[in-house]
Amino acid sequence: MLDAIISTRELLGRVDELLRTQRVIGPVRRDVPDATPPVRWFYEPVSSARQLDLGFAYCVYSPKQYLLPPRETLLEFHRTPDGFSARPVSDAQPTALIGVHPCDLHALVTLDRAFSHNGDDEHYQARRRRLLIVGVDCGKPCTPGVYCADMRANVADEGFDVMLQPLGAGADVERFGVRFGSPRGRAWLEAGGGCERPTAADERAADAWQERKEASFGRTLTTAHEDLPAMMARSYDSLIWEATARRCYSCGSCNLVCPTCYCFDVHDELDLSLQEGRRCREWDGCQLQDFALVAGGHNFRSKAAARLRHRLMRKSKWIGERTGGKGCVGCARCDRACTARISTVEIYNQLAEEV
């Protein structure tokens, strides 16, 4: 059921309205002549709604950087005669994220849960509270190799303030079916007076669109979604980890592009005076050699094979168990980012054949 219909023109008008008071982030198209296909999309701040390309295939990086930046300052401290004093630092600002596909919406839900597990992560939550999320549905697999349908992440019912369903086909979508996910989303979109009531014909068009979408997704994994955790549990001692990890650089690219990878490292930086400094946090990744290195010099996962297994266990089993969200949304960014062409799909299917 649709809550409303809005024309592309009205929608862009609402986005331009947002731009008067806040930062707007969305898919921006970049030409890359020497890549195949010769174009990529990135989530970037825009200064006009016209810069958004809501018909994008996929963004190279997920929007997680706007909630968990690659590098951030958590607090500033300075030495005092009797110790030190510290002051929290936050760069949270009102932001609208326009144009998030279902896979990334699921991933944002996972992050929300991870950063409220055992108490709120204040820096994350301060950004989250100021974030308006507008999803846009995808009509078909955005690029070969994705397995979002296998992970039940190609359709999203939560994680947005507003969800847009492009009605009609092709690049020149003129109307969107709208579902509201929060009063805030509704208030923003309806304020312009441009929302229409959906007609019976609109509902039929939306249903037909949805059916075409569902039909266009094949299955990539040989293991059903609900069986994946158990299959992985049986695969812990498989030789496939070792055999595959021979090619792994431990470069961590797979972690850093992953929309649900949320591990970070914290360190202090001092000024030359040694009197002032700041505590910073940066993205970390479980594929990096020193990720599980602890004081005293012991490394719990010193071998690439152990790290590769750890990552896939996290994605298919442990993050789900820990947060109740999805550990993997099947966007296949990891597979595309891997310069060793290590494929998570291949690993899952090889393991399934074995056990």
Partner: protein, 248 residues
């Protein structure tokens, strides 16, 4: 007492020494925290009572050998800065050529006035306490080391690949544009500056380790099917010196 610092140059372009002078915003604070007592690029006075000596350049002549031995003797802490001092750097390209031919090529008839040796990192000649690799070294990393020394806390180079910083910078990976970037096998710390501006990483900060290199050999052969010689030629630009006398 402020630590007494010296900056020396062996066979190099001295760009790493210059990188220190380029710390324009921090230079005054730096001079407030340390005393520079010997720096050809920046001053005329000289002292040989030194707490921390920074050396750029490779050991490439008998004179370099004598000089670096002297630096070691005069400096309580010795730091190699830049690809030349840490790896041998581009100077090591000559190690794979005939000595007579490159000497004549460079110095012509006066070649015999300029005795030379294979180019080596300074750690091949004397004990080195810290290394700040890169061509040039990253002067932010230099500052970080200075601060660690001042505060008496441990310093370590990033022990992960350039890809990490490349991803944090939000770059499109050059493999997607058909370039065999050396980022996956190269030590980070440069903020992936080359990939960020569209050129592949050339490993000026040195290789990460045996595991990554073994992976590279497999991937170049089996996945990318590129000529191994081509990749080796890239690796040799800064890393032709192997320590064990082998010529990769």
């Amino acid at each position: 007492m402020k630590p007494r610092i010296a900056i020396f140059s062996l066979t190099s372009c001295e760009g790493c020494s210059l990188a220190i002078l380029e710390l324009e915003n921090e230079l005054l604070d730096l001079l407030g925290a340390v005393e520079i007592v010997n720096f050809r690029e920046g001053m005329t006075e000289r002292s040989w009572d030194i707490d921390v000596g920074f050396v750029d350049g490779a050991v490439s002549t008998p004179e370099d050998e004598r000089e670096v031995t002297r630096y070691r003797a005069c400096c309580k802490t010795l730091v190699a800065i830049g690809a030349c001092a840490c790896l041998g750097g581009v100077n090591t390209l000559k190690n794979r050529q005939e000595m007579e031919s490159y000497r004549t090529y460079v110095y012509g008839e006066r070649a015999r006035w300029f005795p030379t040796t294979d180019a080596r990192p300074i750690s091949a000649v004397v004990k080195v306490d810290y290394e700040l690799p890169g061509c040039p070294m990253n002067n932010r990393e230099f500052l970080r080391l200075v601060k660690c020394l001042l505060a008496g806390v441990p310093f370590a180079l990033p022990n992960y690949a350039v890809c990490v910083e490349c991803k944090k910078a939000g770059n499109l990976c050059l493999y997607e544009r058909g370039q065999m970037c050396l980022g996956p096998v190269t030590r980070a710390g440069c903020n992936a500056i080359c990939p960020h501006y569209g050129s592949k990483c050339e490993a000026c900060r040195g290789l990460l380790g045996a595991e990554a290199l073994a992976a590279a050999r497999l991937n170049m052969r089996e996945i990318w099917k590129v000529d191994e010689e081509r990749v080796l030629a890239d690796l040799r630009l800064y890393g032709a010196y192997q320590g064990d006398g082998s010529k990769p």
